[in-house]
Each structure stands twice: as structure tokens, then as C-alpha cells.
Subunit: 548 residues, 2 copies
């Protein structure tokens, strides 16, 4: 539509440029060159050096032929190299592909081939895994070995280049490339996916810029925060924190392994102010032996996702000096896109009244423009009653570009103008959402929807239980009924009957598990419980039992 | 360039939407509906009401025919209505045009005609000005009267509608419009311009979103800040703070007049945390009578621009409990685009060592991607020596869309891929820029450049001087020499000879003013000194002197 405001007022190179998180590092290096950017064991360098190293690596990658849209894969732990690739790869137009280091060779081979990887930067500690992977792949990316000098056993070299040598051969004044468009891909992250081939979720520069800044804005992170890496950076690009920390010229404390002693030491010694992680990280912190727990003076913010933090954990974390904020997201929305934005007046409530509020996933990040719970058949928002179950859907600038080379899955996931998360939840009268289940994990018994999470929450209230997972098992009359997997704490014992009585105190009859299976519950490499596997396990269990 | 990452991965309505600051208000109203958004005298309303009122006003404007690219002008003081129009006008696709309330009728008439204004919302306190303006304009916009109930004398009604009635007739559920493109105009601001017609600087939704968020990120403003309106909102849309405050669900404290008693009262009573303003606002605060200065407990952040704060003012502000941050920008870059980003270690320096650091304009906002000082003839950056003068230039997403209906000026101002500010400055070895003069205010004496600001700084060190301005006057031998206008503080007296001696202590001989003119210095409606006028005044003065 033509009007006076769009005549002779076009974009030009003075008033427009693509949004990209690379500019955050460039600014930090320019304004705070001397400020410590990265600490890892005996290694420590400032923003001037960090920026220089990224430019050198980008220069090397460029010399090795990386062009716009070429994939650079990495198999790295939370070492400084992992931070560097987050800038160096996009600086030469490449697309960063971070591989979960806990995957098997077959899965890694699939990803390398699917992403048509040109270069693989791999920690030599994983060299046998790489070697096995290379026996399975069609493409043969150029391999660069990263040697972690903090490790005692560094593994054998596999690649054609040494990371540090390669980097040093690069031009420190490398004129890095802006993306040609902010919609250009910056990274690809494969979802573990319980069925079918893993899908490559593509992020772009615009989204990475907006969410990286979004973490700072939405979670009110101040200048020069000290960030401890307890979240794997291969997981949704560490929720974009490799970029966020440059926004506030903060300090990254790298951590190869999530160990209680290292965490407590870092918090005390480096005055850590922020860290992220799955609930298991909180357990690791809290379960540390008493002599490891060093008193610290600063306030520490802990961002957690994946599962609502149980009341007891929240209490214990508060007592230990941590403020816990609950986030929620998916790989498809760059990691966290939803925050339990805490109302100050809620802090005046009793702790037991705070817990259910803390358990909610919350509201949209600023960078996410739409968050709704829909009746997905009619695509109508469910009533805001905290009860009606619907599918959680996302819309906005931090929803992925789509799935790589999978236009069918892309279209299905984003049909009707919303990204369909597959998570089931409710929306409370105040607009805060709360997850109830995965769409595929819901149990339908006699036509009634039963949330497996609701039952799990009841089980977790029982002090004997360290882990609980509820899945559907087939039932002749009801279609499905709940089956509960139970992992007990050391030194505790409880029977199936006692647990059934426990559940009856809190749940309607039709929701009671018809079967309890005791024993360790298997988890994925990122600490998630895979319900599809448990369902198979339950069916096997039933078969065995009926045979015996 | 085609690659796997741009095939079948197009934008769609799930993963892309135009950036617009309207979403900040929508989020604040959704997450913090009960939180106080606006306070003005006896009026107070929360985010739910603020959002509803904006939607209602947008609905009314839409009913009155406002479509994409139509201009809605406002002549309003810092009242709640001024905040409302910042959302309501873009909500119906309109472009907001805020008029400086201190302008004369002829200037206002020019703007209304030039912007092809469709609607004018005007405070009835200005009704005689409006009436005079309407005798001069060609276009006849529909007028809506805003009655400021806090005023004793509200003026006579002039328009066809009453603001409050009009707003109340609007639909509270109005389905506000997203911009069709984030490059769509959101506001137009006329620069006062010392020569030629005023130019209409056009802002777009993308830039307003980025700078509004940029204020929060770059200045580390926390959630729920309390913001006092000592900066006129008609000035660069109040540096985008009408939108910034929604990002952090903060509270606006409106203030019609910048009076010492009202400021001190608001700081104490509403626990103000942030305010902005020209140096004159600091003087107003500091010069208040002792009984007005009420002790407050919070830390108050004061953002100032226009002129470097003198050392004494900084000291006094610190003693009074304010932390002063120096910003710099122009109408063409949405207000502030440069910040004196303070290094914590600088706070350990003595106050006299801090002052020259505080006086520097600083470094780019995150949202501004490029800031340089150029030798404008060769378009080469000047050396970073803190000495070599060059023109300050800007580049990036918060540089204006251009000048309305003035493609020649637009092209000239943004030639060579940079916005040419017309300000002269140096860049220090640490990358912080410091302004030295306006390009057109530089004095060229015997081929040497003399910065008028350098001389002014020396004059300001003299305790007798309340205001000083130096301009060039013609000189037969040297081409130009400096002439100093001096306004003395009450009760002080100093002669031209004494001042010349004073200057000699700090300045090279060729920089000494050859003429001192004593008396009040005329300032513009926004408190700026217009050097073009002073130059004329000086020439008149010389003529008169030679005649007498």
C-alpha cells in the first residue's frame, strides 16, 4: 500500500543490516577488551582474545572452503572451543551443527550425512567414537582435533588438523562475513525424536539475536554476570547463552563435567551469578557431601527446565542460596521461550503456596510473540480455567526456520500459523500455562484423558521415591490404564499396595495406576525419560508375568 | 545463493512476524495486568487498563478513518494521553507525529501540512496556539481535545471530539493491526533545524522495537523500574522510553512541568529509579531549595544527553544520591544511540579523574551496529588518539528510515553507507568517542580548527559562569576568531579581561576568544543553544560597537 511513509525511504547500508548475535561479541571486545570472557581450568582469556580467536578460527575455516550454508559439525564438551565455534562458524557463513556427545556412532553418522557436513571439529577424548562413526558415514568431512589440555587422558588424534594450530594459522584481523540475510541459518540442532529419523531443527541469525538478547531482557540479567556452564552447549546451543553472555560482557566458566565439587568450587571462587540445567543439576548440587558445600555471598540464579521443580527441591535450593526460575521450551523454539515470570508479591506467600506457582511453566518470552493452549481439533484457545487440557502452541520470531530437508514435517509442525509443540497443558486464569503431558504420553482410559504428569506429581510427594514415570498400558476394558515405574531412594522400601493407597489420597479412582514396576528407570543422554521405551518395557513385563 | 538451509525453509506466520514495540505492552498487560503502569497526579492505572485504553483509542482512530501510513499529530504535554498515543496510533496503522509544545504557530502549521496530518490530538491548554495554527494551515485535520484534569486552567475547547469521550466510545477488544512490515513507519519527528525547513525524521517499527529494548539491555534497567518523565516525550519519542518501560513492566510517573518540588516529591514518594533529561534538569534538581530535597533510599539512575555533565554537577549529583550516565544521540538515531558504558573499575578513581571519563559520549548501543569517527573527505576512520577531529557517523538498525518527502536530504545524510551526524569528535584509544563540536560550529582561525566546546569547557570551570557559548566571528586577518557569550550566575561578577586571563591558563593563544559578550543566552524550546542565532547576534554586536 503506497503512502508518504514508504516513498523514497528504502533500506540502505546506513540504516539497515541483518540482525546477528556476532555483533554482541564484536561490541564486548570493543568496549570491554580487558574483561575476562572465558575461564576453564588453568585457561583464562579476555574479550579481546576471545574475539581474536574466533576471527582466527573463522579465517581458517574460510580458507578450508567453508561458504554460506556449509555445515561445520562439532563433537565437543563444554570447553572454550565450544564457545568459539558459536561465533567462528557463522563468522565465515557456515552453519554450526553441535552433536550430543552421548550419542552412539550410528546416530552421529546419520546426522553428519544428513547435514552434509563439510568439517568436523572433535574433542580427541571422543576419538574412538569418531573412528567408529567414520566407518558408517558416506560423506567424509575434514576432521579437526581439539585437545582438551585439562584432561589427563586426551585420546588419540584422528583428524587432519590440530585445533589450536589451525586457529593460530588464521588471520586475527579476518574480515568476518555478515549473513547475507538475517533469515540465513546459523545452526542446526537434531532432536532426539522417539520415533523416526532425528529431525534437524534450523535456527537463523535473527532468532538467535532475539533470543540471546531475550534471555537478558526477560530474565533481567545484569552487566558482567558470571555464568557457569552446567547446561550442555550441544543442547539447543546452550539455550543461546553462548551469545547472551556477550550481550552483558559477562564471564563464561566452562565445566566439562557436571560434578558437585566443581560446581560448588566455581560458585564460591568465581562468584558465579547464573547457571542453567535440568532438575538433575539441582539434585547434584543439593546431594553434594556437606564438606563440598562452600558458603558464598552473592545471589545465584538457577534457570531450570524440562520438569517442574518439586517443592522440596525448591526449598532446599532457597536454603542453599539459589533462586530458581522455571523455564520451558523445545529445540524448535531455540530452547527456552517461556518463563515463569515471578511476581514479587508471590514471594510473600508461604513456601507451600509458592511451590504450585513455581511449578507452572509460565508466559512467553518477549522474543516470542504468541503462546497459547489450543483445542487442536478446532484450533480454538481452551478456556483459561487451569483445567481444560489442550496443546501448547508457539508463534513468533524465535520459532525455528523449519526442519532441514524435511518439508513435510516442517509443514505439519507449523500448520494453521502456529508451531504445534506436542505438549499438553492448561492455561490458568492469569494466563500462565502449565504442562500436563506430552500429547503422545497422555493416557486415555474409558474415554477419559489421564495426565501421566499428574500421577507422577503425586508419586513424587512420597518421600521414598527418587524417580517416577507413568505410561499407558493396554487394558481390555478401559482401552488404557496407567502403569507407574518407580525408582526408590537408597534405604527406602514401599510396596505396590502402599503406593496405591498413597495415590488414592490424591487421585480419582480411574487415575490410579493398575501396575507398579520397581527398579532403575533408564534415562536418555540429556537426562530425559523416554516414555516410548517404558511403554515397551511395560508390555514386555506384562507378557512375562502372564507367562510365568 | 542456494544451499540446503534455504530450501523449503521460508517464513510463515508461525515463525515470523514484524517486530513492533506494541507487543511489549500486550505482554505487560497479559503478565502483569494489576501492576501500576501510569501515575499522574490523582490519576493512576494499571497495565490492564493502560492496554485497554490504548485499544479503545486505536479503535476510535480507526473508526475516524486512520489507515496504514496516515498521520496522527499530537500537541500534548507529558500527560498519560501522550503515553497512550504511542501505542494507540501504531495500533491502527497510523504514524504518530509529536509536536514540540514550545513551537510557534507558523512552525506547527508547517509540520501539520508537511506530514499531511489527518487527526490532531491537542491539549486544551494550548488552544490559543492551535487556533492561531489553524489560521495558517492548508490541511484541516480533525481535532480531538485533551483536557488535563490536573490543570486549574484547562483552556477552551477547540476540537470536534473530547479525548476521554472519544476513547470511551472505542472497542476495548479492538483487534489492533500488526504493521504490514516492520519497516513500516511508526512515528515522525521534526528536527528544529537551524537552516531551511524542518525535516521530518521517520522511525519504523523495527527500529523502535530494537531501541526500546536497547535502552533496557544497554543501560541494565531492571524489571519494574519506576520512571519519572522529566524528558519531553515530544523529543525523539522520549528516547523510546514510552515503549521501553513496557518491556520491564515498569511504572511511568508523568510530570507536566519539570519543577524541582515535583521531582523531589516524586522520587521520594513513588520510589523513582530512573529519569532522563538535559543537563538543565540536573541543575533544577540540585538548585532546589533545601527544604524541598527529601531524602530517598533507592539508587536513582539519571541519563543525560546534549552536553557533557561538568565535574561539579557530577559530584553534586552523586552526593544527592544520583548516578549519572551520559548518553548521546540525535533525532535521526531515535534519540540515544551512544552510551558512556561505565567500567566498574573507573569508580575506584578519584572524582577528578572520573570527570573526564564521564564527559565522553562513549560507545554504541547494542542496537546500533556501527559508530565511527571519520575523516569525512576520505571516508577513513581517524586514528584512535583522542586528538584527531573527525565527523561522528552511525550505521545500523536504529538509524532513521529517512527524511519525509525529502529524498535529497535523505541521500546526502546517508551517503557512503553511513549516517553523517554533523557532529565533530575524536575517538580515544579505548574506542570511546568524545564530541568536540558541531561541524558547522567549528571555528577556523588562521587555518587551525578550534573547537568551540573546548573553550566552553574552560569557561564552565569558572565558578562565576552559569552558561557559556562560543561561536566564530569574522576576522580580517585570521578568517575567524572565537567569540564567547557569557551568562553569569546571580551575585557574581567578572570582567572580560579577567576571563581572558582565565582562558589563557588552559588554552593556546590562538584559541582565546577575541570578544566576550555578557548577558542572558537565548535557548530553544528544548533547552539547546542555537549557535546560528548567536553568530548573527555577535555580528550585530560588532557592527553596533563600530558604529558607536
Amino acid at each position: 500500500m503506497s503512502n508518504i511513509y514508504n516513498q523514497n525511504l528504502e533500506k540502505n547500508s546506513a540504516n539497515y543490516q541483518p540482525l546477528t548475535p556476532i555483533t554482541f561479541l564484536e561490541r564486548a571486545a570493543s568496549v570491554y577488551p580487558e574483561r575476562v570472557a572465558v575461564i576453564y581450568g588453568k585457561q583464562e582469556y579476555n574479550y579481546s582474545e576471545f574475539y581474536r580467536r574466533c576471527r582466527q578460527l573463522a579465517s581458517f575455516l574460510s580458507k578450508k572452503g567453508i561458504r554460506f550454508g556449509d555445515t561445520v559439525s562439532v563433537l565437543l564438551a563444554n570447553t572454550p572451543s565450544m564457545l568459539e565455534v558459536h561465533y567462528a562458524v557463522p563468522m565465515c557463513g557456515g552453519v554450526l551443527h553441535c552433536i550430543n556427545t552421548r550419542l552412539d556412532a550410528t546416530s552421529i553418522a546419520f546426522q553428519l550425512d544428513h547435514a552434509e557436513s563439510n568439517i568436523l571439529i572433535a574433542d580427541t577424548a571422543f576419538s574412538s567414537l569418531i573412528s567408529e562413526t567414520f566407518s558408517k558415514i558416506t560423506s567424509k568431512p575434514l576432521v579437526i582435533d581439539y585437545v582438551d589440555k585439562e584432561l589427563q587422558f586426551i585420546g588419540s588424534k584422528f583428524g587432519s588438523y590440530d585445533y589450536e594450530e589451525a586457529l593460530n594459522s588464521g588471520d586475527p584481523e579476518f574480515n568476518w562475513l555478515m549473513p547475507s540475510d538475517e533469515w540465513d541459518a546459523i545452526t542446526v540442532n537434531y532432536t532426539s525424536g522417539t520415533t523416526g529419523d532425528p529431525k534437524g531443527v534450523v535456527y537463523h541469525h535473527r532468532g538467535a539475536y532475539l533470543l540471546a538478547q531475550g534471555n537478558i531482557v526477560t530474565a533481567s540479567i545484569n552487566k558482567h554476570a558470571v555464568y557457569l556452564w552446567t547446561l550442555p552447549m550441544f543442547h539447543c546451543n546452550g539455550w543461546c547463552f553462548p551469545w547472551s553472555i556477550s550481550v552483558i560482557s559477562g564471564t563464561h566458566i566452562c565445566l566439562r563435567e557436571v560434578r558437585a565439587d566443581a560446581i560448588w568450587k566455581a560458585i564460591k571462587y568465581y562468584k558465579v551469578t547464573h547457571l542453567c540445567g535440568a532438575p538433575i543439576v539441582m539434585s547434584t548440587i543439593l546431594d553434594a557431601e556437606q564438606e563440598l558445600k562452600q558458603a558464598f555471598e552473592q545471589k545465584v540464579e538457577f534457570f531450570t527446565a524440562a520438569a517442574p521443580p518439586p517443592e522440596k527441591v525448591l526449598n532446599d535450593m532457597a536454603d542453599a542460596g539459589f533462586n530458581v526460575t522455571h523455564l520451558y521450551g523445545l529445540t524448535e523454539v531455540y530452547g527456552p521461550a517461556v518463563i515463569n515470570d515471578w511476581h514479587t508479591e508471590w514471594s510473600d506467600l508461604t513456601v507451600s503456596k509458592q511451590a504450585p506457582l513455581k511449578a507452572r511453566q509460565g508466559v512467553r518470552y518477549h522474543a516470542l510473540e504468541g503462546l497459547e493452549v489450543f483445542d487442536s481439533h478446532q484450533m480454538k484457545p481452551v478456556p483459561r480455567d487451569g483445567k481444560t487440557l489442550g496443546e501448547v502452541m508457539f508463534k513468533g520470531n524465535i520459532v525455528m526456520k523449519g526442519y532441514l530437508k524435511n518439508s513435510t514435517a516442517t509443514k505439519i509442525s507449523m500448520k494453521d500459523g502456529w508451531f504445534h509443540s506436542g505438549d499438553l497443558g492448561v492455561i490458568h486464569p492469569d494466563g500462565y500455562i502449565q504442562l500436563k503431558d506430552r500429547l503422545k504420553d497422555i493416557i486415555i482410559s474409558g474415554g477419559e484423558n489421564i495426565s501421566s504428569i499428574e500421577i507422577e506429581e503425586v508419586l513424587y510427594k512420597n518421600n521414598a521415591i527418587s524417580s517416577a514415570a507413568v505410561v499407558a498400558i493396554p487394558h481390555d476394558r478401559w482401552g488404557e490404564t496407567p502403569c507407574a515405574f518407580i525408582e526408590l531412594k537408597d534405604g527406602f522400601d514401599i510396596s505396590a499396595d502402599e503406593l496405591r493407597d498413597w495415590c488414592q489420597k490424591y487421585l480419582a479412582g480411574f487415575k490410579l495406576p493398575s501396575l507398579f514396576i520397581f527398579g532403575p528407570i533408564k534415562k536418555t543422554s540429556t537426562g530425559k525419560i523416554q516414555k516410548a521405551q517404558l511403554r515397551n518395557q511395560a508390555i514386555e513385563f506384562i507378557k512375562t508375568r502372564s507367562l510365568s
